[in-house]
């Protein structure tokens, strides 16, 4: 006998008589509250730690085998300027600046502003990671669907086992091998960077094709490891939903297998993945530290790693803020979207 699920009861404590406006206002307040908390955390995390950006810069310049020139340290301290006031005043200033969209000047790229630096890195990350993320999701979902549809067949084994093995290869390692094989040995693709040394960034055809060639290997690395989660998740969910009575009845109704797989399996099985996907998309803004590092890709991940290691507070804070807001917004949208996709969802509970 197939799984019977008790018809989900309405919550026992419904939000009595709450008007829709109030409901949205509440959700929005919740959103703002989380945003504020995240922003505050982003302010505090770097500041609560010991360390001096000037020292970090100088020691990076000097390298580990050279002694540090105190005069240089002094000059850099002056250049960066010490933050004014106590922590609270700094916090107020910080909030004020954020509201105005002013993130300050980057320490590592002085005198370029943080906004400028993020503007440089963001498109690369958004395009590379965003596109591969979406492709991973689509491919993963399709493969997972296929595997569940052909459960226990050879296709299922090939998909699940194959993707399991490939997908769990450590991804920086995979990246290295890809570079070695396809860039260094075969010389099919450039070995790193977002574009070649000779081309100048812009909307020219040459540049775009150059950038595309440079993005192939990192994209492949991301695509090999990306879909596994979606595949397994989708397959598991779908196996479950295909075992339910409504799917059994669909069989009895003589619906084509494909139709059953899609509307009675995949359509339901995809729901739990929506939030995960939204969060994944939201975190695209943070880039992928590892891939970008291995491929020297000029995206947010590498910028972040650099800002952290050289204690570039303004840059670090801004990147944190970006990723946080990205995930938060994605999360918020996913919640709203979920209500549309899953008619059963009890709106009060998705908060």
């Amino acid at each position: 006998m197939a799984g019977r699920r008790a018809p989900a009861r309405r919550p026992t404590r419904p939000p009595e008589g709450m008007a829709p406006v109030a409901y949205f206002a509440r959700r929005f307040l919740f959103f703002i509250g989380t945003l504020w908390a995240a922003v505050t955390l982003n302010f505090l995390i770097p500041r609560l730690q010991p360390g001096d950006p000037a020292e970090a810069i100088v020691s990076r310049l000097a390298g580990q085998s050279e002694s540090i020139d105190p005069a240089q340290l002094q000059a850099i301290r002056i250049m960066l300027g010490a933050p004014d006031g106590n922590l609270f005043e700094q916090y107020v200033q910080y909030l004020g600046a954020i509201v105005q969209g002013d993130f300050g000047v980057s320490y590592t790229y002085f005198p370029y502003s943080v906004t400028h630096m993020i503007g440089q890195a963001l498109p690369w990350t958004v395009i590379l990671v965003g596109v591969t993320q979406i492709i991973s999701f689509i491919v993963g979902t399709l493969l997972g669907t296929w595997a569940a549809y052909r459960r226990n067949s050879r296709v299922d084994s090939v998909i699940t086992l194959g993707s399991t093995f490939l997908g769990t290869l450590p991804f920086f390692w995979l990246a290295l091998l890809l570079i070695y094989v396809f860039a260094i040995t075969l010389r099919w693709f450039p070995e790193r960077g977002g574009y070649g040394g000779g081309s100048s960034p812009g909307w020219s055809w040459i540049f775009i094709s150059d950038a595309f060639q440079h993005s192939v290997l990192p994209a492949v690395a991301l695509l090999i490891t990306g879909p596994i989660g979606w595949i397994i998740g989708m397959r598991n969910n779908m196996v479950q939903s295909l075992g339910e009575d409504h799917a059994r009845l669909a069989v009895a109704r003589g619906l084509p297998r494909r139709r059953i797989a899609l509307t009675y399996g995949a359509r339901i099985a995809i729901l739990p993945n929506v939030t995960g996907f939204a969060i994944a998309l939201g975190s695209v803004l943070g880039g992928t530290v590892l891939v970008e590092t291995v491929f020297n890709y000029p995206g947010m991940g590498r910028l972040l790693l650099e800002s952290v290691s050289s204690r570039d507070y303004p840059l670090m804070q801004a990147i944190f803020l970006f990723t946080t807001v990205g995930v938060l917004v994605a999360n918020f949208l996913a919640d709203l979207l979920y209500g549309f996709l899953d008619p059963r969802v009890r709106k009060a509970d998705t908060a």
């Binding site: 450590p170 939201g282 975190s283 530290v289």
Partner: protein
Amino acid sequence: MSTPAPAVPVPGTDTEALQASATELSRRSRLPGWFVILWRNRKCRAGLLLLGAFVLVALFAPLIAPYDPRGDAFPTSLGPTGGHWLGTTAQGEDVFSQLIVGARTSLIVGLAAGLLSTLIGLVIGLTAGYLQGWVDEVLSFLINLGLVVPALPLMVTLAAYAPVRGLWLIIAVISVTGWAYGARIKRSQIITLRTRDYITAARFAGDGTARIIAREIVPNMTSLIVVGFMGAALGAIGGEAGLAFLGLGDPQTVSWGTMLNQASLGGALLTGQWAWLIAPGLALSLLITSFTLINFGIDALSNPHLRED
């Protein structure tokens, strides 16, 4: 109307089959139920065996490893030879010994961080989902916060700022950044479970909240919890390796991640020491694969329907 079919034997001629399944039942019942359920799934069995092999290697690492993993008395940058199956590092350490000992680190990190973050997620998710009300509001807020604070960046930051980088720091960092998603999923799951009639029925049977959660709700979430645990463990193993690869790991520990990092720094590609570079990567992948394979059997734990095939 057709005439009834000719006589057939008395019901129960397939006694042998019945007997067989009964003896099998008793033979198996000595093992814990969850294990039997997992063991039945072919892929899951392969995963369990693989994981078991890793665990054994990790447990007996000092016995298996031919040399001290940090002993650097050998010629440097050797390729695979009879004495050094996977060659030596640029410092003259035996790669094979490091690989064996590194299994320990990866397993410890995976299990500890997986457990820790699952536990945090479970406690917070379950409390929020079960109690609801303002507790839920507060905890949901925390969960959301944990969710939006970017994990890897935070991991990088914490690892970079912590004064001393021990293995436990890495574990703590990974757990602290990794619990939120699980908590969220568990919360929403428990919200759908807590209003089921059988939960109310358990209250009628006089069970307390703690018992209801532990005995009625959790079994229905086993696959979710275990999958969450494995996800966290995988994340931790990969995370440790990634941090180590970025140079943010604990250089004192021998782990596959530090091996990769050192292979990379030590110019394994340059000197053509493929074994040094490939071995830890493959080992890492196999370990993670074993987890994913086990995952195939997990569903049957909380969905008895899936136990039959």
